[in-house]
């Protein structure tokens, strides 16, 4: 009986013994010969364009100044995180949540803010950039509204350093998605707020101003349309938005800058101005298309 058992074990060993070249070896060797596919544009150029896109947080400040109350309904629920399982979705929604976090921050909604931070941390982990978030520090700061400034600072810094890091890692595509998500969410919130304040000129202009940023984003996405099907389909959606924005006119009037002394310090004053022509119809169209795209992104 024992002999039979030993025999069986031995047979098992030999059956498994037919070795083959390890998978890792094969995979890495294959990779060595084939260059990773990427955009034909250099990382540097992409980086430059990315720099021109303002942080979504800047829009948030504008919203608070509009005097409207905090409304969590505008935001993407942090619970939705379980839906984001591809890097594409993760990166886009990291941007979305970043904007949402900024929005909760300016209204000092710390409780919600902490939830967003947790979701951001999780998404970042999923993208292997979790090291930029020290969730404990953020959590501690968030418990006290007096720390709002530092919180905002840290978060902004984090987003900046992530962008930078991703570029050094040849993963600018994530940066692009990340900024696109953030921008889209900001535009969405602005549109929602604007719809409640039809007379707020400033908000309407802000919406109109996004035309320039949209063009930049589309430019960035177009770099990847060959290599990344997800980004290509996002670009197609953006083109819909672009069609509405084509009706928005921005005229830029240049004037010589002047120097002024303010409190004994010399300041350069920009005298140029731009006028934005945008109709309420355009705004509502922009709102509905933005909402559509955003819904696709966050679902």
């Amino acid at each position: 009986m024992r002999i039979v058992i030993f025999g069986l074990v031995l047979a098992l060993f030999t059956a498994c013994g037919s070795g083959k070249k390890s998978d890792e070896q094969a995979f890495l060797e294959g990779l060595d010969s084939a260059k990773a596919e990427g955009p034909s544009i250099s990382e540097g150029v992409i980086g430059d364009i990315l720099q021109q896109i303002p942080s979504p947080l800047e829009i948030s400040v504008l919203l608070k100044e509009s005097g409207k109350k905090y409304n969590a309904g505008y935001l993407n629920s942090p619970d939705n995180i379980s839906k984001y399982n591809s890097n594409f979705k993760k990166a886009l929604n990291l941007g979305v949540y970043g904007t949402d976090l900024g929005y909760t921050n300016i209204y000092e909604q710390n409780q919600d803010g902490v939830k967003y931070m947790a979701s951001i941390k999780e998404l970042a982990d999923g993208l292997n950039i979790g090291q930029f978030f020290d969730i404990e520090t953020i959590g501690r700061l968030a418990t006290n509204s007096k720390n709002l400034d530092s919180l905002l600072l840290i978060t902004t810094q984090n987003f900046n350093s992530i962008n930078h890091y991703l570029q050094t890692q040849n993963r600018s595509n994530l940066s692009v998605l990340f900024l696109t998500g953030g921008w889209l969410e900001a535009l969405h919130i602005t549109c929602e707020v604007a719809a409640l304040n039809p007379n707020n000129k400033e908000l309407q202009e802000t919406i109109g101003e996004q035309k320039i940023i949209l063009e930049n984003i589309m430019l960035l996405l177009s770099f990847y349309k060959e290599s990344d099907q997800n980004m290509a389909s996002l670009l197609t959606d953006m083109e819909e938005l672009k069609k509405i924005y084509d009706k928005v006119n921005i005229t830029y009037t240049y004037k010589e800058s002047t120097f002024e002394i303010v409190d004994g310090v010399m300041v350069i004053k920009d005298n140029s101005s731009s006028t934005i022509e945008i109709t309420p119809d355009d705004i509502s169209n922009i709102k509905s298309i933005t909402t559509n795209i955003r819904n696709k992104v966050i679902s």
Partner: protein
């Protein structure tokens, strides 16, 4: 005898005597004598009157013409009386009545045809065979011993030999005249009468000439010349089976020492041939059972030997196996089986060459012999839940031994706890067996007079293991009486009733010295050694000559496979009939699964609205609990198996059955049970917790493997310890380390530094089946669920490349800077740090896949002296390229994974939805566990090596040789003799190897031997070094 019967007999006597010549004085006297033996003085008168009335004594002679008429009337009367007697008396009693009738007639020698006709009628109605009747008639009537020439007669006279042509048996003795013995074959009774002039004594009472006496069990005849003739000796002459049985049993035990050093037996010598029933008596603690055990070969004497037909039972076991039968004092029955099944499976194990019909016949035969055939379909039950009586249990115990007909049978107090009726039945049965040629030793306690007399010989032991007596039972009383000079020392039994009081013996042996106040003191009048001295003087044991041939036996063992099969069937049947056991064992697993799974199932989805498998944070703990449950069930179900069977094993040890077959049968049953239990557990667990069904089989297999391991472990402790309580106390001792070192409760790198190490599972944990099972389960659940399976490889490269490009390379670069900043330092500590860092960089890079452009440098040994700024530059460049390479790998892997997801989602006709898949098949907590996300230090340095702390599930182990099986916890694959094997397979193999090793330990009973060696230690220490050296 009832009044009615006595009346009937009186009538019968009267009818016979009044025929042909009427009643004579002598005949009447005979009847009165008969009444005297049966009745008290007052009643005798009444019955004599009755007799006179029936026989017409004193009325004067009737005329002969009338007498013929009455004889017809008498014949009818006789028939009526005989029929009445027939209904109430046993066959033996009827034979005695018949003999009395004949004797009555013989007193006057008035054998008229009419008288004989009546007796003949009576014998017919009594169903006594005609032949036998003639023998009896001849025996009673004749006065010439030589005329008795048939096989059932034994003559004892002074002649040395007899004529070959004669059928009767003959024995030489110092006697005038002849002593005649007759056997009545149908009832197996012996009668004797003496024809001669001497005065002989039967059981101490003088024998009348030509008077027929019943020669009952234990009777002795002492001749005038001093010869003694014992019942057993007589029987031996009549019994052909005894004569043909070749058996010699010679015991000489010089000394038996217990492990404690006390002496159990001293100078015991016993020598017997076949066909004896020998009793062993003694005060408690005198060593009766010890003697029995030594003789049966269960205990080896310290000095001395036991020979059966010249074969030493301890050193030549193979020659005598199956010869010895042993019935211990305890019940050795399988309580769940019926009486019939108990015997049937026992028979099946003994007679391989029997077919079913023969087996059935044999079993029924034994059952009938023991009067158990009416009870054959009753469950044996235990003493608390009785279905059969104590006597029946005892008889069944004996039957189990009898069925295989061992030549020598040992019984330890077979009558204890039995009613006197049952006791007598049991001993009677043994007596019968001994008459068939078996040699039977019985330890007996407080036997009744009848039982005591049934023994052929009695061995009486005294305190301290001294033999005090060895000889015929009745003589024991006289011997002890004589030795203490008591009056009436020749009388062994009561003159009127024939009773023997064995208690007398012990009263004499243990008589205490009385102090001046008449109070008995603790001191004995005659100490055991003194009795032993007397014994030595008085008894010379005649050694039975060793018969030089193998003892008879009917045992034919089935082959090992068949034995296994029989064991399995028997055990299964007994388990099936135990409804409680079955119910508990089959319901335990699903019940536990239900409790466990229902409790840990909660609304786990992020909004808390519903249960989603993905977010069930209890899942990793559930897996551990499953393993603990499997271990626990496996242990509890097996822990009692061997202990419960131990008694039966002891009985079967005389059969020399295969231990391996027995164990294999246990394993077969336990493994089957484990398979069912774990399957029901897994099915219910999966159902409730909504675990993917394709994970069911591997999940089950791990639990089954674990449970089997626990089964064999349980059998080990079951075979090693003596009581079930000890075994159950052992269970936590075995289980808790399994829990502690399972890997989930306490991380392996946060254990005491004596056992803990970095980057590998501690050796001590490798000894735990739980750790292997848990790892196998977790790794398999993570890697092979439907969500993760297609992406695992991508994620692996992603994670490994990310680790190298984002963390490892930075760490290495930091070390590079440190080295070249401190290259010229004279500080010893710093120099050592520099050397160490240099070593770490080199080994880390050497072990890496990417070496492009740096192969030459890596091949040589790096020393601090050889380092140059040039080398520094080269290394820096290499690290940059290294980082770049792994960034590429990372991006490529991510891209491929994204492409794969996109492909699955957009395939024609596919309903693949990554979110749904992840919700249903993937568990976040499990992923966090195997990715070690809570670890803050992604990389640590330990003993000159860098260890990756995160994502263990994605790190392939790097074995140092083909035999290096060790890896970090949750490694996705393992090294088995130089090849890569999945963790699931590898870990299961390991547990099975552990199981096989445990089986080997079980087979050789290593644990039991180990524990026994501890037990002996205390004694050895006490005895000093001498004994220790011997061992």
């Amino acid at each position: 005898m009832s009044e009615e019967i006595l009346k009937a007999l009186t009538q019968l006597f009267a009818i016979i005597t009044k025929q042909d010549g009427g009643v004579t004085q002598r005949e009447r006297q005979f009847v009165i004598n008969f009444f005297q033996t049966e009745l008290d003085q007052d009643s005798i008168k009444e019955y004599v009157d009755l007799y006179d009335q029936f026989s017409g004594y004193g009325k004067g002679d009737e005329d002969s013409g009338k007498s013929k008429l009455t004889s017809v009337k008498d014949s009818v009367k006789t028939l009526g009386i005989c029929k009445k007697i027939n209904k109430t008396l046993t066959q033996k009693q009827k034979v005695i009545v018949l003999i009395k009738l004949l004797e009555l007639v013989a007193t006057d020698k008035n054998f008229t045809p009419q008288r004989m006709e009546i007796i003949n009628t009576a014998s017919n109605v009594f169903n006594i065979v005609q032949d036998e009747y003639h023998h009896i008639e001849n025996f009673v009537i004749t006065e010439d011993a030589t005329s008795l020439n048939f096989a059932d007669i034994l003559l004892l006279d002074k002649g040395h030999s007899i004529d070959e042509s004669r059928l009767n048996k003959h024995v030489h003795g110092h006697i005038e005249g002849s002593l005649v013995f007759m056997r009545v074959r149908s009832v197996d009774m012996y009668f004797t009468k003496y024809l001669g002039d001497e005065s002989n004594a039967l059981n101490g009472f003088p024998m009348q000439v030509n008077r027929v006496y019943l020669f009952s069990h234990g009777s002795t005849i002492k001749t005038q010349a001093g010869d003694a003739l014992y019942y057993s000796d007589l029987v031996a002459h009549f019994n052909e089976e005894i004569k043909t049985t070749k058996l010699s049993f010679n015991v000489s035990i010089e000394e038996l020492k217990f492990p404690t050093g006390a002496i159990g037996l001293r100078n015991v010598a016993i020598s017997e041939g076949p066909g004896k029933l020998i009793g062993i008596m003694g005060a408690s603690g005198a060593g009766k059972t010890t003697l029995l055990n030594v003789m049966a070969g269960l205990v080896k004497p310290t000095k001395g030997q036991i020979l059966i037909n010249g074969f030493d039972i301890n050193s030549e076991k193979d020659k005598i196996h199956g010869v010895i039968g042993y019935v211990s004092q305890d019940d050795l029955l399988i309580e769940e089986l019926t009486v019939y099944e108990n015997l049937y499976y026992n028979a099946k194990l003994c007679f391989a060459d029997f077919n079913e019909e023969q087996l059935h016949k044999r079993v029924m035969e034994v059952l009938e012999n023991l009067g158990l055939d009416q009870r054959k379909d009753l469950r044996v039950g235990n003493p608390l839940d009785k279905t059969i009586s104590g006597g029946q249990r005892k008889r069944l115990n004996i039957a189990l031994e009898l069925i295989r007909e061992p030549a020598i049978l040992f019984l330890d107090e077979p009558t204890s706890g039995l009613s006197s009726r049952d006791s007598e039945n049991v001993i009677d049965l043994l007596k019968e067996l001994s008459l068939k040629g078996k040699l039977i030793f019985v330890v007996i306690h407080q036997p009744s007079s009848d039982i005591y007399k049934m023994f052929d010989k009695m061995i009486i032991m005294d305190t301290g293991g001294y033999p005090a007596y060895y000889g015929p039972p009745i003589d024991a009383v006289t011997y002890f009486k004589k030795s203490t000079h008591q009056v009436d020392s020749n009388r062994g039994q009561c003159e009127t009733c024939g009773n023997v009081n064995p208690e007398q013996i012990f009263n004499i042996i243990e008589a205490k010295v009385v102090d001046e106040y008449g109070q008995p003191t603790a001191k004995r009048k005659i100490s055991p050694p003194q009795w032993y001295d007397l014994f030595k003087e008085r008894f010379k044991i005649n050694r039975v000559e060793d018969i030089k041939e193998e003892p008879p036996r009917s045992l034919r063992l089935p082959n090992k496979l068949k034995q296994t099969f029989i064991f399995v069937t028997r055990d299964t049947l007994s388990k099936l009939s135990n409804k409680q056991y079955l119910l508990i064992n089959l319901l335990e697993a699903p019940l536990l699964a239900l409790i466990l799974a229902v409790i840990i199932k909660y609304r786990s989805s992020p909004g808390g609205t519903e249960y989603v498998f993905r977010f069930n944070e209890n899942f990793p703990a559930f897996l551990l609990m499953s393993i603990i449950v499997a271990l626990f069930m496996g242990l509890t179900v097996s822990a009692e198996e061997i202990i419960r069977d131990r008694k039966i094993l002891r009985r079967e040890s005389f059969l020399n059955l295969s231990w391996n077959s027995y164990l294999t049968s246990k394993l077969f049953i336990l493994f089957t049970l484990s398979a069912v239990q774990t399957l029901s557990f897994v099915v219910l667990g999966n159902l409730i917790l909504e675990i993917e069904w394709s994970m069911l089989l591997p999940f089950w297999f791990v639990l089954f493997t674990t449970s089997c391991f626990a089964n064999v472990l349980g059998l080990n402790i079951s075979s090693a310890f003596n009581s079930a309580v000890t075994v159950y106390v052992m269970i936590p001792l075995l289980l808790i380390p399994q829990m502690i070192l399972s890997g989930l409760l306490f991380p392996f790198d946060k254990l005491n530094e004596i056992i803990s190490t970095k980057g590998k599972v501690p050796i001590i944990a490798d000894l735990m089946a739980s750790r292997w099972a848990y790892e196998a389960l977790v790794v398999d659940q993570f890697r092979n669920n439907s969500y993760e399976k297609p992406y695992y490889e991508f994620e692996k490269y992603e994670s490994q490349a990310d680790f190298r490009s984002s963390f490892l390379v930075n760490e290495l670069d930091k070390k590079r800077k440190f080295i070249f900043d401190h290259l010229t330092s004279k500080n010893d500590t710093i120099r050592r740090a520099v050397e160490k860092d240099l070593y770490i960089i080199q080994t880390t890079l050497q072990n890496d896949f990417y070496k492009k452009g740096f192969e030459k440098e890596l091949a040589s040994t790096w020393t601090v002296d050889k380092l140059s700024p040039d080398f520094n530059k080269k290394l820096e460049d290499f690290l940059t390229a290294y980082k770049k390479f792994y960034q590429d790998v990372y991006n490529k892997a991510v891209e491929q994974k994204e492409a794969a997801i996109f492909k699955y989602e957009n395939e024609e006709g596919s309903d693949y939805d990554i979110n749904r898949y992840k919700d249903k098949y993937y568990n976040e907590s499990l992923a966090d566990l195997v990715k070690n996300v809570d670890e803050k230090e992604r990389i640590i340095e330990f003993e000159g090596q860098l260890y990756q702390q995160i994502n263990p599930i994605f790190i392939d182990p790097r074995p140092s040789g083909p035999l290096d099986y060790r890896a970090h916890f949750f490694a996705p694959k393992k090294n088995l003799l130089g090849t890569d094997v999945s963790t699931f397979l590898f870990n299961n193999i390991i547990i099975w190897i552990m199981t096989v090793l445990l089986y080997v330990a079980l087979y050789f009973e290593l644990l039991r031997k180990l524990i026994n060696s501890f037990d002996g230690l205390g004694v050895k220490i006490g005895k000093g070094g001498e004994k220790a050296k011997k061992n």
